[in-house]
């Protein structure tokens, strides 16, 4: 691993194409589909055609043999204009396809991955339950009991992304299969006894699909078990480490979007005889955002480079997620301030970022969880 993370010429061309797509296709529609709480299926399909859902996966299963950094670049550029579309991609890849690609058998991968990696279908990953999402070892009460060569699943999951879209083909759920045993099992959409509640009314991420799931005697073949029985806890810890780098990229995108919007607005909007950007109290806020964007970007890319180099990266992924998401919350709040009353309107990008920022500190491991990981790594 070199000392400095530089993009290759291809990664840079790719980043530019996604940036263009984000600016030309997603940005002009973002206010509308967020206000309507509409999952923008056409945009997701187009992203599928561009190969975005297949980036970090092998061509053998319909992926495009890309690298994890390229995936993060796509998240940054999309997150810069809209976080709902960004999280749909992040979760589609990181929570939907990754567990199957990482832990599935050859046959399972051949069966489920091609459609997911082409972005024609989406999958969810259901860990969180009403009893909790942090202390998963004790909060997981969903049970799977064997009956011949079938699992019978009973229980429920809460706040599951991409679980109820018109593209959703399956949800991987963690279920208790023994007193100290949690197992990941693939449940196809539409299975009998599997109910998907209407979308939640959320504070932000209005166009991202989030559902409550209920399993009432749902029967799926034992062949739907991902990896070894009882390996569920270990599996999702691995999945969440990668997800943290990806969420960090999404947060960096938001911070950069705040800078972009604020530079534009502060150059146009006038008060006391000059553009508001001519007042240092405003200009310095924007300068601070740029500092956050650049430092958070370099750090998540460092974590990513360690992952790609095969070095340990658990602590780095936690630091990246913690730092960039807390900076994103600050940047969104300050950007809203720069916009004044207009920043409180959801028709503005910064207004939507203000709504979307908070969840970044909660999903895929709260800030407290990241601090726990870092402290533990320090021997505390």
């Amino acid at each position: 691993m070199a000392g400095i993370v530089e993009l290759t010429a291809e990664q840079e061309s790719f980043r530019r194409v996604v940036a263009e797509f984000a600016d030309e296709v997603i940005a002009p529609q973002a206010a509308e589909f967020n206000a309507a709480g509409r999952f923008p299926v056409e945009i997701i399909r187009q992203m599928g055609e561009m190969g975005l859902f297949g980036i970090p996966f092998p061509a053998e299963y319909g992926g495009v043999d890309g690298d994890y950094l390229s995936f993060c670049l796509a998240l940054e550029e999309i997150g810069r204009v809209d976080q709902s579309v960004g999280i749909t991609l992040e979760a589609g890849v990181g929570l939907g396809a990754a567990p199957i690609a990482e832990f599935g058998s050859r046959e399972q991968k051949q069966r489920w991955l091609p459609e997911l990696l082409r972005g024609e279908r989406l999958a969810g990953f259901g860990l969180t339950e009403p009893a909790g999402g942090t202390d998963l070892a004790s909060a997981t009460t969903t049970r799977a009991v064997r009956d011949g060569d079938e699992w019978v699943i009973d229980g429920g999951k809460q706040f599951i992304t991409n679980a109820g879209t018109e593209l959703t083909s399956l949800v991987t759920v963690t279920a208790r299969t023994g007193p100290d045993e949690i197992t990941a099992i693939v449940v196809p959409a539409g299975a009998e006894g599997f109910t998907v509640a209407p979308p939640y009314r959320k504070v932000g991420w209005h166009a991202s699909d989030t559902r409550e799931l209920t399993f009432d005697g749902v029967r799926v073949p034992v062949a739907n078990t991902l990896g070894d029985e009882g390996a569920g806890l270990r599996q999702f810890l691995k999945i969440l480490d990668d997800g943290r780098i990806a969420i960090s990229a999404l947060a960096v995108g938001m911070i950069q979007g705040c800078v972009e919007e604020c530079v534009r607005y502060a150059g146009e909007r006038e008060a006391f005889g000059r553009p508001i950007g001519g007042h240092q109290a405003v200009a310095f806020k924007i300068a601070d955002m740029q500092v956050a964007a650049e430092t958070a970007r370099q750090y998540y890319r460092y974590a990513c480079a360690r992952k790609l180099a095969g070095l340990p990266y658990k602590r780095q992924a936690a630091i990246a997620k913690l730092y960039s998401t807390e900076q994103a919350v600050t940047a969104a709040r300050q950007a809203t301030q720069v916009f004044g009353g207009m920043g409180f309107m959801t028709e503005t990008r910064v207004g939507r970022f203000y709504q979307d920022a908070k969840i970044l500190e909660i999903g895929e491991g709260t800030s407290e969880v990241q601090r726990m990981i870092i402290a533990r790594d320090l021997g505390l």
Binding site: A9, E10, S13, F14, V17, E20, F21, Q46, E49, M50, G51, L52, G54, I55, V64, D65, G66, S70
Partner: protein, 261 residues
Amino acid sequence: MKVLVPVKRVPDTAGEKKIDPNDRTVDRESVESVLCPVNEFAIEEAMRLKEQQDAEVTVLLVGPESAQPVVRKALSYGLDAGVQVVDDAVVGSDALGTAEVLAKALAAEEFDLVIFGNQSTDARTCLVPAAVAEILGLPALTYARHLEIDGDQITVHREHEEGWDVVESSLPAVVSVVEAINEPRYPSFKGIMAAKSKPLEVRSLDDLDVDTSRVGSDNAAAIMYEFRDRPPKEPGTIVEDDGSGAAATQLADWLVEKKFV
């Protein structure tokens, strides 16, 4: 079927361009260079022929070595191969000089169809496609807003102010397309990664047997004598209605005066 798509490197359309006072050409340092956006429509049309009729598509660019990223960009849409004509003698060519080089470069390839964008976003002369067709002695089907190939017949809808004409010819032919023809795709991740390993041949004017007395700034028929900065945008006229509806008449008169209706 073999299709050739000539593309051009242009200064970023959205960027503020500067003219170099010494040689009166666009100062390339002052603004980023990109693939001409109109070419994206030609590329998309070629990609459709590739997908529907298994066409083999080659992109052609005349420009310095530093323009190679533009060829790669064109290839990233999924085209098969590239040809780049690199020669210092080309610098400063006008539309006819450029057409001369393009025609020779095209003649060196086998093709059934050449698809141009109808204009480039920097010069906007719209002359090159027809000039190339003339030099090659091929039918020119310009301003196409719709294109269909059936065997060795091509039909296009040629756009003009009142609508379009249906124009047919046999292949090989030269087409130029307008932006109404399609909705260009974005390059895919795979396409971008594959672009660097697509074959790209570099040719000189010598290789192509171009008569150099017809190209370059010294032989250009179009000469720029003077240039000026774009005048600042004038403020618009605001028509206010006094409640009587007179504003509507004023608006209508203005539209008629400006020949918009």
